[in-house]
Amino acid sequence: MNRWQFFRKLAPLLALMVLVLSACGRSDLSTLRPQGPVAEEQFGLMKLAISIMLIVIVVVFAISFYVIIRFRRRPGDKTIPKQVEGNHKLEIIWTVIPIILLIILGVPTIQSVFNLSKDHTKDPEAVKVVVTAHQYWWEFEYPELGIKTAQELVIPKGKTISIEAKSADVVHSFWIPSLAGKVDANPGANENIMYFSAPKEGVYLGKCAELCGPSHGLMDFKVKSVDEASFDRWTAALQAPVALPSDPAIKEAFVSKCLTCHAVGDQGGPAFPNLTGIGSRETVGGILVNTDDPEYSNEGSTYDNLHRWIEDPQAVKPGTLMPQVELTPQELDGISKYLSELTLDYEQ
C-alpha cells in the first residue's frame, strides 16, 4: 500500500472521529455539547486544538508505519546502512512548522483568555451570585436580591450570571461542563470570579472538581435556567414567609433538632444548607434525584429521598458534617413529609 492510499483510508476515520466527538455525552453534562456561549467558545478552542493536533498525529503515525514496514531487516541481512548525521533542512522544517501551528492555536487562546476573564461583578445587567463551597454542598447567595439557597442555582435564561466563588473550608471547584469551564473555590482571601449564561431553559448538571474529601464525587449541584418571569416568581417565593409544620410534635422536633443548623424562611441557622423550597429541588443532598419514576439506586420520590437522607446522612454521603439526628420514627416521617411539601410555585 503506498502513501496516498494510506491517507485515503485514514480520512473517513478522521471524519468519523469528529462526528463521534460532537455527539458524545449528555447535552446537560458534556463539554462536547455546549449549551451556553462560554462553553461554546471553549469548545471552539478545543476543536481548533484537536484539528491541529490531528495533523501532527497523522504525520507522525504515517511516518512511523512507513518506517517500520519499509526498513524492516530481512532475515540474514548483515549490511550496515548509510550512517546519516542529520539534515539541516529537515530540522528547520520540523521546527518552523510546529511553531506556525502553535501560533495558529496561540492567538485565539490569548483572545479567549482575556475574553473569558471579563469582570461582570459590577455589570448592572448581570445577576450576581456568590458561590460558597462547603464539604459537601453548594451555597448560593444572590446579594442584590437578598436571597440565599443551596444546591440548586436557579437563573434567568440568557442573562449573564456573574459568579464570585469561594470556600468555607478546603479548596473545591465549581464546574458546569455544558455551560462553562470551572473555577476553583478557595478558602481565605483568594476569591475568584467567572461568568456564564444559559440561553436555553433546562437543568444542567454541576460537579465539584477538586478533591475535597470522601464525598468529593457526590458533591453535585444543578443549574436551572428558567424564563425571566419564573425567575422573578422564584425570587419572590424564596422571600415569602414559610410555615412551620402544623403538627406541634413535629414542629417541636423540627425547630429544636433541625433549625439549629438549617434555615427555612427567616428562621433557623445560616451555616448549613437553606431548606426553603427544598421540596421543589431536583435532588436531596445534591445526589438523590427526586423523581416519581426512579430508575437508579440514587433516585426516589422527594419524600423517600428526604427520609433516606435524614435517617443516615453518612450512608448517602460519607464524611458529611450532618450527624445522624436523634428522631423518633414519627418525627422522621413527619419532618420528611413536611420538607417534601415545602415547595416553591414559580414555574409556569
Binding site: R26, I57, V84, T95, L102, L105, H216
Partner: protein, 627 residues
C-alpha cells in the same frame, strides 16, 4: 606501594547492605522500585475495580481516596524514579568509561534514604492512617484542621526522607559526568542516554529543594502548629499550589527525559544507524529542561491567577512542544533508511513513539488555558498524564531494561515472553486510557470514588477496567520472565545484541567489579561503533594495566537512613500518643535519637579516613591490551 590496612570484603547479605558499587546500587534500586511498582499497580487495580460500574461499593470512599493518593505517590516517587535511578546507576559510568560515580558512599546513602522513606510512607497502610488528599496534597485539606489523623504526616516525612536520596543522586551524576569522562569523550561525544541523565540531574538539583521547603512547611503546619497554609492563621492555600508545582512540573520532565535517552539508544542500536541529528537532540533536551521550569502554573489555570499569568503560561507550555517534536522526528529519521530488527526492547521503543506523541498532543490541548477550564481535574487530564508517564516513561523503562538486562545481570531476558509482555501491556494500556479522554470531555471529574448511573460513563469505565487487568497481566509476564531468566547461566557476551555502539558493550556482561580493566580512549561519538567500523574488535586503552583503586564498602549509609526513619516516626507521634519522657514528648525524644544516629554516622565518616583498597593486575579477569 603496599598499604598496612586489610582489605574489607563482604559477601552475601552484608555485601548488599554495605555496597557502594554503582552496579549493585543500581540493582538495589531496581528491586525496590520494581516492588513498589507492584504495590502501586495493585492500588491502581483496586481503583479500577471500584470504578467498573456506577455506584459501586467495592471499597469505601475513604479507602478510595487513600488508594488514589498512594497510587500516585508510590508510582511517581517510589517506582518510576527508582527504576530510572537503577538505569542511571547501572549504565552511565559504563557509558563514559568511568569506574564508579563521583561519590560512591553518598550514592549508597541515596539508595537507603529512598528505601526507608518509601518504607515510612507505606507503614501508613498498617496504621490505618493513610494520606488521602491526592499526591498533590493540596492545602488546607492536607493540614490538621481537615485531616487530623497521621496520614499526611507519613506523606510529608516519607517523601522528605526519600527526597534527600534523589537530590544527592542528582549531584552525584552531575559531578560524575562533568569530571569523570574517559579521555577523548568530549561533551558532544557522550551517548544520548548520558546527556539525558545529565540534564535530568540538573532538573533534580533545582526542583527538589522547592519540594523540600513545601514539605517542611506543611510538616511545620501539622506538627508544630505553624500557619503557612492554614487560612485561619493567615496562611495561603494557593501558596502550597505554587510551591508544589514549581517542583511538580520539573518533576515530570525528570521522569521523561531519561526515557527519551533510552529511546535514542535503543532505536539507534536496533536500526544499525547513528542517531539522526545528535546536536539538535542535545539542544532540544536542554531546551525542554530549561522550559520545564517556566510552566508550572499550567497546573493552576483555574486557581484565579488572572489572564496575564494564564496567557503567559499557556504560551510557554505550548512552546515545549517544539523541542519535543524535534526529538520525535529525529527518532523517526534514525529509523528511516536503517536496518530495523524488532527485538522486544525495540518494540517498546517504537511503541513509545506514537503513544508518547498522543500524550504530547493532549498536553498542547491542555496548554490552552480557556479550554483547560473544561479539561482541568477531569479524566481528560488523567488520560493525558498516563499517556505520557505510562505510555512514555514506563514503555521507555521497559525498553531500557530489556536492552541493558544482559549488561546488568549477564543473562538475556527471554525474547518470546518479552514480546508477549509488550503486546499485552501495550494493548491493555491503550484500552485503559484512550477512553478516559472521552470520559473527561463528557463531564467526569477525576478523583471521584464513584459515579452515578445514566450519565453515559458506564461502558467506557468498564473498558478501562478491562484494560487495566490486561496491563496487570503484562506485568506478570514480565515478572515471570525475570524469574525464569534468573535460573539461566550467566553467559551473555560482551556485546550480546552484536550492534552495540557505546562503551558499555566493550566490557564483559555483567560488568566486572572495576568496570574497565583499562580506561578506554574515545575517538568519536558512538565510540565503540567507530572502532568497529575501523576494523577493531576492542577499544584502544588510554592507560597501562595497573592496580585499580576501589572505594571501601560501608554500613554507615544504611544506619544514616535508619536514623532518619526513626526521626520521622518520632516527629509524627509527638502529640501525646507515646506519653512523655522526663517531661518531654516521647516522640521528640525518639526523633532526637534518630537524628543523633544520623549525625554520628556523618561525623564518623568525616573523622575516619578510609582510602579504599586496590585490585591488583593479577586479580583482573582478562588479559588486557598493552597501552
Amino acid at each position: 606501594m603496599a598499604h598496612g590496612h586489610a582489605v574489607k570484603r563482604y559477601s552475601g547479605l552484608m555485601d548488599w547492605l554495605t555496597t557502594v558499587d554503582h552496579k549493585k546500587i543500581g540493582i538495589l534500586y531496581l528491586i525496590a522500585g520494581g516492588f513498589f511498582f507492584l504495590v502501586g499497580g495493585l492500588e491502581a487495580l483496586l481503583i479500577r475495580i471500584q470504578l467498573w460500574k456506577p455506584l459501586n461499593d467495592f471499597v469505601s470512599a475513604d479507602t478510595y481516596n487513600e488508594l488514589l493518593t498512594m497510587h500516585g505517590t508510590t508510582m511517581i516517587f517510589l517506582a518510576a524514579m527508582p527504576v530510572i535511578f537503577a538505569l542511571m546507576n547501572a549504565i552511565v559510568p559504563l557509558q563514559i568509561g568511568a569506574r564508579d560515580v563521583a561519590y560512591p558512599f553518598v550514592n549508597a546513602i541515596g539508595f537507603w534514604t529512598f528505601f526507608f522513606g518509601a518504607v515510612l510512607l507505606n507503614v501508613s497502610w498498617f496504621t490505618g492512617s493513610v494520606p488521602d488528599g491526592g499526591w498533590t496534597a493540596y492545602a488546607p485539606f492536607s493540614g490538621t484542621t481537615f485531616n487530623g489523623d497521621h496520614g499526611f504526616d507519613y506523606y510529608v516525612l516519607g517523601l522528605q526522607i526519600a527526597g534527600i536520596g534523589t537530590l544527592v543522586g542528582g549531584i552525584n551524576f552531575l559531578v560524575t559526568i562533568i569530571n569523570m569522562r574517559a579521555p577523548g569523550m568530549t561533551f558532544m561525544r557522550m551517548p544520548m542516554f548520558t546527556w539525558s541523565v545529565f540534564i535530568t540531574s540538573a532538573l533534580i538539583l533545582f526542583a527538589f529543594p522547592a519540594l523540600t521547603v513545601g514539605l517542611a512547611a506543611l510538616m511545620f503546619d501539622r506538627v508544630f502548629d505553624a500557619n503557612f497554609f492554614d487560612p485561619s492563621g493567615g496562611g495561603n492555600a494557593v501558596l502550597w499550589e505554587h510551591i508544589f508545582w514549581i517542583f511538580g512540573h520539573p518533576e515530570v520532565y525528570i521522569l521523561i527525559l531519561p526515557a527519551f535517552g533510552v529511546i535514542s539508544e535503543v532505536v539507534s542500536t536496533f536500526s544499525r544507524k547513528r542517531l539522526f541529528g545528535y546536536s539538535s537532540m542535545v539542544f532540544a533536551t536542554i531546551l525542554i529542561g530549561f522550559l520545564g521550569f517556566m510552566v508550572w502554573a499550567h497546573h493552576m489555570f483555574t486557581t484565579g491567577l488572572g489572564p496575564v499569568a494564564n496567557g503567559l503560561f499557556s504560551i510557554a507550555t505550548m512552546l515545549i512542544a517544539v523541542p519535543t517534536g524535534i526529538k520525535i522526528f529525529n527518532w523517526l529519521f534514525t529509523l528511516w533508511g536503517g536496518s530495523i530488527t524488532f527485538t522486544a526492547a525495540n518494540l517498546f521503543a517504537v511503541g513509545f513513539i506514537p503513544t508518547f506523541v498522543m500524550g504530547g498532543v493532549t498536553g498542547v490541548m491542555l496548554a490552552a488555558a480557556p479550554a483547560d477550564f473544561q479539561y482541568h481535574d477531569s479524566y481528560f487530564v488523567v488520560a493525558h498524564f498516563h499517556y505520557v508517564i505510562v505510555g512514555g516513561l514506563v514503555l521507555g523503562l521497559f525498553a531500557g531494561l530489556h536492552y541493558w538486562w544482559p549488561k546488568m545481570f549477564g543473562r538475556m531476558l527471554n525474547e518470546g515472553l518479552a514480546k508477549l509482555t509488550f503486546w499485552t501491556f501495550f494493548i491493555g494500556f491503550h484500552l485503559t486510557f484512550f477512553v478516559q479522554h472521552f470520559l473527561g470531555l463528557m463531564g467526569m471529574p477525576r478523583r471521584i470514588w464513584t459515579y452515578l448511573d445514566g450519565l453515559g460513563f458506564n461502558e467506557m469505565n468498564l473498558i478501562s477496567t478491562i484494560g487495566a487487568l490486561l496491563m496487570g497481566l503484562g506485568t506478570i509476564f514480565f515478572l515471570l520472565n525475570v524469574v525464569i531468566t534468573a535460573f539461566k547461566p550467566k553467559n551473555a557476551a560482551n556485546d550480546p545484541w552484536e550492534d552495540g555502539r557505546t562503551l558499555e558493550w566493550t566490557i564483559p556482561s555483567p560488568a566486572p567489579e572495576y568496570n574497565f580493566k583499562q580506561t578506554p580512549l574515545v575517538r568519536g561519538y558512538d565510540a565503540y561503533w567507530k572502532e568497529k567500523m575501523d576494523g577493531h574488535t576492542e577499544m584502544t586503552p588510554a592507560e597501562p594495566i595497573g592496580s585499580i583503586h576501589m572505594p571501601s564498602p560501608s554500613i554507615l549509609p544504611l544506619f544514616m537512613a535508619i536514623g532518619l526513619f526513626i526521626t520521622g516516626l518520632g516527629l509524627m507521634y509527638s502529640h501525646g500518643e507515646w506519653g512523655k519522657i522526663a517531661g518531654i514528648e516521647a516522640g521528640f525524644v525518639v526523633g532526637g535519637i534518630g537524628l543523633i544516629i544520623t549525625f554520628a554516622c556523618m561525623i564518623i565518616r568525616s573523622l575516619i579516613d578510609d582510602h579504599g583498597f586496590h585490585i591488583e593486575p593479577e586479580e583482573l579477569q582478562d588479559k588486557g591490551v598493552k597501552a
